[in-house]
């Protein structure tokens, strides 16, 4: 026998697992998770990206991991491709920079110029 509170808890927990079943078509953030990236702290970057998106309630941006992008001296790197815009690769993305990119680029639509390594597709 479940109480109303228990039903609410079931709802919250199950919703998290179901979140993935939505189309995430506003954009994509690729975090380079090669050995070099991970050594440079890409795991923290990944967590920061996910956490910041979550906090902002952004659910239609995909977060994916990839291998090394070949820009090892600027790791951790991430690539942000918002729909209908050229993609941007950022370097030296630590926790704080990752959060800034999510806020300014993903949410605000402004590329964070000083962190850019490359614009356009590789």
């Amino acid at each position: 026998m479940k109480s109303l509170e228990e039903l609410k808890r079931i709802k919250e927990e199950t919703l998290k697992a179901m979140d993935l079943r939505q189309a995430k078509d506003r954009g994509k953030i690729v975090v380079a998770m090669g050995t070099c990236g991970i050594a440079a702290g890409a795991k923290d970057t990944l967590m920061a990206v996910i956490d910041e998106l979550d906090k902002a309630g952004v659910h239609d941006v995909q977060v994916v991991q990839s291998g090394c992008m070949g820009l090892c001296d600027r790791e951790p790197t991430i690539e942000v491709s918002m729909k209908d815009q050229p993609s941007v690769i950022y370097g030296d993305v630590d926790d704080a920079n990752a959060r800034r990119i999510v806020r300014e680029h993903v949410q605000g639509g402004q590329v964070v110029a000083e962190l850019v390594i490359k614009r356009g597709n590789l």
Partner: protein, 536 residues
Amino acid sequence: MKKLFSTQIVIPVDSNSVLQGALEVKHLLEETIRTYNLASQVSVVETGALGIYDQGVVLAVFPDDVYYGNVTPSDIQEIVTEHLLKGRVVKRLAIDRSLSSRRMVEKETGKSQQKIVLRNAGLIDPQSIDEYIARDGYAALAKALAMQPGEVIQVLTDSKLQGRGGAGFPTGLKWGMVAKEQSDEKYIVCNADEGEPGTFKDRLILEGDPHSIVEAMAIAGYATGAHIGIVYVRGEYVMSIARLKKAIADATAYGLLGDGILGTGFSFNLEVYRGGGAYVCGEEFALLESIENQRGEPRNKPPFPPQRGLFGKPTVVNNVETFANVPPILLNGSEWFRSFGTPSSAGTKVFSLSGDIVNRGIVEAPMGTTLRELVYDFGGGITGGRHIGFLQTGGSAGTVVSERELDVPLDFSSMKTSNVSLGSGVILVASEDVPLLPFLAEVAHFFWHESCGRCTPCREGTLQVKTILDALVSRTADPAALQRLSRLMNTFTNTSFCGLGQAVPLAFESALRNFPQVFEQALAASHVPEASAESV
């Protein structure tokens, strides 16, 4: 956190896709995912049908929003190694059904599916009560239990919800009638007989979202003072029956059915009854007779089921789609519901699109959607770019109309205003290459076969209609055939005992009205064989 960066593959497992190997594909997919050590990142989820037909086994990959169609076991290796490992879409299998492409269509045409009834179908795992709860499932029951029964009925009455089983009777009024009756027992019955050829909407709801029916029936029980519910499911709907039974068991385990639901004093139990499969058993009295283990034949009306129904007790009989509307109405209010549809008909309708149409399948659209929108915008037009020959709306017990009726908004009043029947929402499209008369002969055979034989006008009348149509097809009709057909139609309307006989004229009268030349030509080309000419 980990779940956020994994992939989910949704595979609709319904009675159609199972026949095409959905379960084999699913098992192989899971196995291959394990082989490649992806099990911690990729999950496979079963859902009900997405309303996509003619595409075999479908896989939807999220969050990528990529849909694959006609997937066979031999494609799995490629999907796993290409898509899941390397992130490359397998183009040869991709179908254009992604949510984003659907949104594009919506943007371009300004038309979108409005999902109330199908809010969960194809989205949740129908066998998971937790996923139903996640989508606000059982919140409407909880809300109802905190209201007075009369208030619940008032919300439904104000919503203007009308029965989706064909007759369009106001649901709030029906529940109110049962609530008013004094009786030691009352019953809630769900009509899931779905005998109309070409309709498969109730099956899609039962297979894809069984808990919505369980919840709605419990709400009906609370509102009317009933403690027992029975879902009468068409015998062939094996998967619907299995999923309902699981839903009932899970809801009972959570205390959402049974005694003292959600800690209140309200008790409600549900059973599933497997029907025998005759078309007439969809008629509410024949259905009740069938549950009572009698021959499925209609009874005299009045009294109606709300007064004397199952075992002589006050009984609510509602269609599956009608019930599926109830929880959202309670949660969102009657005004919200009335904001969809037309002044005469609130809410949406689930349409079953079939025939010579590009996207066959199920579509939920607001009441008042036109045939043109259904056929061209949702249905993608006629296959092979051909023209429309004729359309049948509302099923065998519906109307046969021409292209001239394409702009009639379909709702409960379109029969009265434009002679286009909504019925249970079947739209059958026939291209210009389909001859009308043999089609009508099929309809005549159907009625002749399904007439229960209880009353003479229908038993004998359906035989005569069938004979006349057969004669028109074989060009052996006598000159008076059309007059006889018209006279017969009046007899059906005026003297048939139940709705089956009363509905027979709809198809033939509308066909005669909309395609008189087809009948006249057949008559003109007819030669009466010697022997039968004498006997007439």
